[in-house]
Amino acid sequence: MRRMPEPILEVRDLTVHFYTYAGIVKAIERVSFDVYKGETFALVGETGCGKSVTSRALTQLIESPGRIVGGKVIYHSDKGPIDLLKLREEEIREIRGKEIAYIFQDPHASLDPLYQVGYQIAEAMVVHNTVKDLKEGLQRALSILKRVLIPDPESRIKNYPHEMSGGMKQRVVIGTGLTNNPKVLIADEPTTALDVTVQAQILDLMNKLKRDYNTTLILITHNMGVVAEMADRIAVMYAGKIAEIGTAEQIFKNPLHPYTQGLLKAVPNPMKRIERLDAIPGTVPNLITPPSGCRFHPRCPFAKDICKQKVPELKEIEDGHFVACHLY
C-alpha cells in the first residue's frame, strides 16, 4: 500500500543558466522532485553538479550572471500553494528566512565579521517583525543560543565571529536559520568546513532541532556517510540533472542508476559489504556543451546508442523510486 505523504515543496522542471563570457553554462536542466513535510531530503552529487544552485534557485537566490530560465517551485504554505518563482522580490523576501531558511557551508564566512553574533541572530527576527524591537530580539537570541547548546550563552551573545571556533559559529548559523521557526530548512553542506568530531555534534544537533521544531530539512552534501545517517529520502544529481530519487533504503540497497552505483562503490557503504573502493572513470562534463542524450553516457559502463541520442526521463521503477536511465 503506497502511503500518500503531504508535499511541502514541489519542484518541476527547474532550469538555471549562467550567462558567462565563455558561453551559457547550463547549471541545472529540468530538475524535478518533491519534498514531503517533516522529512529529511538529501541532495547528493559531486562538486559542480548543481546541488547548491538547485537549493538557491528555490527562493530565487541566484545572482547575476545566473538566471532562472524556467520551471516551477510550488511551496505549500499555511495559506495554500504558491509558486515561489513567480513572486516579486519583496514577496520572496518575506519567505526567505521566515518560511524557508538557509544554513551555508562555511560558518567562518557566513557571519558578518563586524557585528556581534547576538545582533546577527536578532536581525533575522527584526526583519520579519517576529519581535517588536531589537531588544526583544536579543533576548530571544539568548534563548536560541541556549537551544543550539552554546556554553555560557550570556557572554557568548556579545562575541564577534572571530572570537568563536568553527563549530561554535556553525551553531550560531544554525540558530540564525531556526530563529523564525521555518517550515523548510535548507542546509548546504553544513559540516564540510568542520572537523569530524564537531561534524557529528552538529549533525546530532540538527536532528534534534529538526524534531523539536518539526522542520523539513533539505540536506545538500557530497558526504555519503552524512546522507546515510540523516536522510529519509535521497535525490542523486549528476551534471545538473536528477539521476535517481528514492528512499535512503532504496538508494543504498538497490541503486539503479549506473552513476549512483559508481558513487556508492567510491565510498565505504555502511549498509553493504564491498571489497574495494572504485573510482568512476573520467571527469564531470563541461556544462557549457554538455554531452548529448544522457549526460552520464561518456563515463557510463553500460552506455548504449540510445544513451547518446535521447535524454532519459525519470521513470518510477518501484514504489517511490525514480531513475532517469535507458537501462530500465
Binding site: T59, L61, E63, S64, P65, R93, E94, I95, R96, G97, K98, A101, Y102, F104, Q105, D106, A109, S110, L111, D112, P113, L114, E123, A124, V127, H128, K158, V173, T176
Partner: protein, 385 residues
C-alpha cells in the same frame, strides 16, 4: 594595572582622551564603559601607535592647526579682508614684511609681519581669512561629493549587470576628462546661474556668507565661489564610485552577504549595514588623503582666476595676484604657497598614518616593536644594576 609600555606625555594624553570619550558616551548610554572595555583598549592602542609615528604626529599637528584656523581664522585676523589701507596711506602698497604703516583714519600703526598686497592689506590677515575659504570648500566638496560616489559605487557593485554597466560608463565619461580641465570648464560655465539662484534665496545667501566669513558686500561674488565648489563635486565623485564599486564586488562574494539575503534582508539594508561598514576603512583613508588634493585643486583653480575674486581672501588667488609683482613682492607668492603646501602635506601624512593604525595587523606590529624596546631597556637596566 601593570604598565606594559614606557609612557610618554602623549601616551598619557591618549589615555586621558580615551577615558574622557568613554565617560562622555557613558553619560548617554548606561554601562557603556563597562561593556566596551576592549573597544576602549583598541582606541588606546590606536593612539599609542599614532604616537610612535613622527610623520603621523606632524600630520595631526598640521591638520589640527589648519582646522583651528579654518574655524577661527577670520576672527583671529588682525585686519578685515575688505579694508584697503592703500587708500589711507600709499606706503602700504606692496609693503615688505616687517614694515610698520601709520593709518590716519584709524589713528593707529599697522604692523605688516608678512608684508602687504597691492591694496596694502596685511598678508597675515589674508592668509588667516583664506584658511576659512579652503576649509569650507574642502569640507563641502568631500561631504557632498564622496557620499554621492559611494552611493553610486555601492549600487553599481551590488546590483551588477546592466545597472553596473550604466553607472560605470557614466563614471568613465567623467574620468575620461582630466579633472582639472573639466573643473575649469564647469566653473567657467556655472557662475551666472548659481549667482541668480543664490540671489533669489536670501536665507541661503546669508548662510553661505556666514559660512565663509564674508561681508554682505560679497554677495555678488558668491556665484563664482559656489561654481568652483559645484565643479569640484562633479569631478570628485567618480573616483569614489570606482573604488567603492571595486570593494563592493569583492565584498559581496562573501558568504555572509548571501546569508543576509537568505534571511530576507532587503538590498538596501545589506548594502548599507553589511557591505558599506566592511569596506569603509580604505575609503576613509582615501578621504583623508583627498582633503589635501581638494585644497590643492581649489588653490589651483583660484590661481587660474576662477572661483573667489578679490577682495575675498583665497590662497590661490593671492598667489595669482602676486604673480604680477614677482619677484619684487616675493612674499605674496612664497607665504601662501608655503601654507598650501603645509596643509596638503599635513593631510597626506595623516592619511598615510591612518592607513597604518586603522589596519589591526600593522597596528599590532607597532605594538610589538614598542613592547620589545621596553623589554630591552629593562634588561639593560638590570645589567647596569
Amino acid at each position: 594595572m601593570q604598565e606594559e609600555y614606557k609612557k610618554g606625555i602623549l601616551d598619557r594624553l591618549a589615555d586621558f582622551l580615551v577615558i574622557a570619550l568613554g565617560s562622555f558616551i557613558n553619560i548617554f548610554k548606561r554601562d557603556w564603559k563597562k561593556k566596551n572595555k576592549s573597544k576602549m583598549e583598541e582606541w588606546r592602542l590606536m593612539l599609542y601607535a599614532l604616537n610612535r609615528s613622527p610623520p603621523g604626529l606632524i600630520g595631526v599637528f598640521l591638520v589640527l592647526v589648519f582646522i583651528f584656523f579654518g574655524v577661527f581664522g577670520p576672527r583671529l585676523a588682525p585686519w578685515p579682508y575688505n579694508y584697503f589701507p592703500f587708500f589711507d596711506n600709499g606706503t602700504a602698497y606692496l609693503a615688505p614684511p616687517g614694515t610698520q604703516v601709520y593709518l590716519p583714519s584709524h589713528e593707529t600703526i599697522m604692523s605688516l609681519h608678512l608684508g602687504a598686497d597691492h591694496y596694502g592689506r596685511d598678508l597675515l590677515s589674508l592668509l588667516l581669512a583664506g584658511a576659512r575659504t579652503s576649509f569650507v570648500i574642502s569640507i563641502v566638496v568631500i561631504v557632498l561629493g564622496v557620499p554621492l560616489g559611494i552611493l553610486l559605487g555601492l549600487i553599481a557593485g551590488y546590483y551588477g549587470g546592466k545597472t553596473d554597466e550604466l553607472v560605470m560608463r557614466i563614471t568613465d565619461m567623467f574620468l575620461a576628462f582630466p579633472a582639472l580641465i573639466l573643473a575649469i570648464a564647469l566653473s567657467a560655465v556655472l557662475p551666472n546661474r548659481l549667482q541668480a539662484f543664490i540671489s533669489s534665496h536670501a536665507h541661503l545667501q546669508s548662510f553661505v556668507l556666514w559660512l565663509f566669513g564674508l561681508h554682505m558686500r560679497e554677495a555678488g561674488n558668491l556665484g563664482r565661489l559656489l561654481s568652483v565648489i559645484l565643479a569640484m563635486i562633479i569631478v570628485w565623485w567618480p573616483a569614489y564610485a570606482r573604488i567603492t564599486r571595486g570593494s563592493t564586488l569583492t565584498e559581496k562574494e562573501n558568504l555572509y552577504v548571501e546569508a543576509a539575503r537568505a534571511i530576507g534582508l532587503s538590498s538596501w539594508t545589506i548594502m548599507f549595514k553589511h557591505i558599506l561598514p566592511n569596506i569603509i576603512g580604505p575609503i576613509l583613508v582615501y578621504i583623508t588623503l583627498d582633503f589635501g588634493s581638494v585644497i590643492l585643486m581649489e588653490a589651483g583653480l583660484s590661481f587660474l582666476g576662477l572661483g573667489a575674486t578679490p577682495p575675498i581672501a583665497d590662497w590661490g588667488r593671492i598667489v595669482y595676484d602676486g604673480t604680477q609683482f614677482f619677484p619684487k613682492a616675493w612674499w605674496l607668492i612664497i607665504y601662501p604657497g608655503l601654507v598650501v603646501m603645509l596643509v596638503a602635506l599635513g593631510w597626506n601624512l595623516l592619511g598615510d598614518t591612518l592607513r597604518d593604525i586603522l589596519d589591526p595587523k600593522t597596528r599590532r606590529s607597532i605594538e610589538f616593536k614598542v613592547k620589545k624596546t621596553k623589554k630591552m631597556e629593562e634588561k639593560e637596566g638590570e645589567e647596569n644594576a
